[in-house]
């Protein structure tokens, strides 16, 4: 399977009144064509900055300091960090679709649903209004939206939260993008609605072969839909691997602690240790490994001084921890 996205040494900083914050620190990651990749982390881990970097939607005070994001389009590879805003606009919406946590922020309250979806279509393709309307209705049906004709004619406030999120997904999918980035797409929804939206993502992948990156703080969500999982902490990747393998045998102490700390309705969920302490303070970055102040396996000489690289320790398995130095395959 070939890669659709290759991120190398991506470093992003935010300028704030208190100084400069490093939100992403030398991120190396590839995304395979057709996979569902979950990026999991707690607040301040940099997961949203990563998603926004790929879509080039970083706020004005953010700067990509280093690194590249190679996106393999049908016409060849493009470095998303290098191209002009004009070129990026062509890619965004047509080749990269986006779904965010709060649907209301991205829906225009005074515009009919169908017009909002069509807007995305006609801004990227030459298509008649009638054809665009037909295509929109067709997509709403495919997204199993009950009563699609009614929804198309509605305004956002007339729809429930779950329905609004389906509309956002329709807007993201209307040009059949190759990559869909979903940032906490179900966090604001009730659990039964969340389950439906997650099923919808699975169906989209099956139907259109779209690659999906889902950003979530919920390990359960990652397990339910992802093939591979990326665990982030304090702007760094801690561990990458096949979802089943990471859950069967978490390697990084942070992953172990996270699995040990989560509340679950299953008694079978792996019992690791319970994470102590507080998440990292972004204003006072830690020297050495970012996790060492909370790590029960901390090695005095090395962990507190040197930041571990991402070691390749097995089939598609990567871990940034000195415990695995020399284990590489």
């Amino acid at each position: 399977m070939s890669n659709i996205l290759e991120i190398k040494r991506l470093t992003v900083e935010y300028k704030v009144p208190e100084g400069v914050i490093k939100a992403l620190d030398k991120i190396d990651l590839y995304v395979k064509k057709g996979e569902i990749l979950a990026i999991v982390g707690e607040s301040g881990s940099g997961k949203t900055t990563l998603a926004h970097s790929i879509a080039r939607l970083l706020p004005k005070n953010a700067r990509i300091v280093e690194g590249s994001i190679i996106f393999h389009t049908r016409k060849g590879p493009v470095d998303l960090t290098k191209i002009s805003e004009e070129e990026m606009r062509k890619i965004r919406g047509s080749m990269i679709g986006m779904v965010f946590q709060d649907p209301m922020t991205y829906l225009n309250p005074v515009m009919k649903i169908s017009d909002q979806i069509i807007e995305g279509l006609i801004s990227h393709k030459k298509i008649s209004k009638k054809d665009a309307e037909a295509k929109t209705l067709d997509l709403l049906k495919k997204l199993r939206i009950p009563n699609p004709e009614y929804v198309a004619k509605s305004y956002p406030h007339q729809l429930s939260g779950g329905m609004k999120q389906r509309v956002i997904i329709a807007m993201a999918m209307i040009n059949q993008p190759d990559l869909l980035i979903a940032d906490e797409p179900t966090s604001a929804l009730d659990v039964t609605v969340q389950a439906e939206i997650l099923e919808l993502f699975k169906e989209l992948r099956k139907e259109y072969g779209v690659t999906i990156i889902i950003i979530t703080h919920d390990l359960g969500v990652a397990v339910r839909i992802a093939d591979r999982i990326v665990i982030m902490y304090a702007g760094k990747i801690m561990e990458i691997g096949d979802v089943r393998e990471v859950f069967k045998q978490p390697l990084h102490p942070y992953t172990q602690g996270l699995l040990g700390s989560i509340l679950s309705i299953s008694e079978n969920v792996r019992k690791g240790f319970i994470l102590k302490g507080t998440p990292p303070d972004i204003f006072n970055p830690t020297r050495g490994c970012k996790f060492h102040p909370r790590c029960p396996f901390v090695m005095r000489d090395i962990c507190i001084n040197e930041d571990p690289p991402l070691f390749h320790v097995g089939n598609e398995r990567y871990v940034a921890c000195w415990l695995y130095r020399g284990v590489s395959s």
Binding site: E42, S43, S160, G161, G162, M163, D190, V191, T192, V193, Q194, A195, E196, L198, E199, H217, D218, L219, G220, V221, A222, V223, R224, V243, R244, F247, K248, G257, L258, L259, S261, I262, L263, S264, I265, S266, N268, V269, R270, I274, L275, K276, T278, P279
Partner: protein, 327 residues
Amino acid sequence: MTDELLKVEHLKKYFPIRKSFFKRSSLYIKAVDDVSFIMRRGEILGVVGESGSGKTTLARLILRLIKPTSGTVYFDNIDIFKLSEKEMRRLRPKMQMIFQDVTASLNPRKNVRDILAQVYKTHTSLSKKEIDQNIEKLLTSVGLTPPHIFMNRYPYELSGGQRQRVNIARAIALEPELIIADEPTSALDASLKRQIVDLFKHIYEERKGKLSYIIISHDISLIYSLTQKTLVMYLGRMVEYGDTKKIIHDPKHPYTIMLISAVPVPDPDIERNRKIFIGGEPMTLESTFVGCPFYNRCPFATEKCKKETPPLVRLDDGRYVACWLYS
């Protein structure tokens, strides 16, 4: 003191929907519709439901922050709706609330000492020195140590988890008999959530038998980790009530089955073999509607479910279910 801490009887709260300013409306939303249960002293009850299920309205009724349309709440055998404002004020220290928004519930212009001292000043006649000693003890018991450092901090200097600890400290300051916590962890990350749950357990153990909790949440894993009994609500009605483990491992009401099946479990072996049973959205209840509120999403619904409200019946294992399948 009796064994029975709280008795809720046929509690109802209907909110009128005004169509125009001048017209008195005959339309209303049944936010809480005929809820009854008994809570023993030292019990931990979870109230679970999705948005619009009425769980927060139920909490506000139990604390008499709002008045019911009908029904009663007995706290320590006292009908709280019959009390005068003054008598109610005397009862308040025994029932405390912890809110979802950890930041909004702390005054940003007061430091931790002042926030906690306020409680003692309002309800006790302790001296300044005694208050300080109590605050030190409180902060230690909620894990904000060393206490003299946290006493002088302002809310903005605290992390989300620490702020929630201050809220918990304030709630336990007067040694209440009941603490109602509304979504106490929903604003927190996974690792902090676990720490707060452990703190709730720790405080409960310290005051074993004297303290009860009502935990209100949409988060079923939180309810599972912390509570002994669970009340499942759907559109204002009780649909299932009983032992937490029984309800979550073997739900009986079709809505509970749907709810539990929707919760993602962070275990790939379990997730792979799971049957997820979902569909539809809660209906908008007409005021005149008399059937089962879940019938439009229920795969087992019959004509009867559309026309008649299922009563809450007791099953052999001791739980209560409101569904025609079981009556």
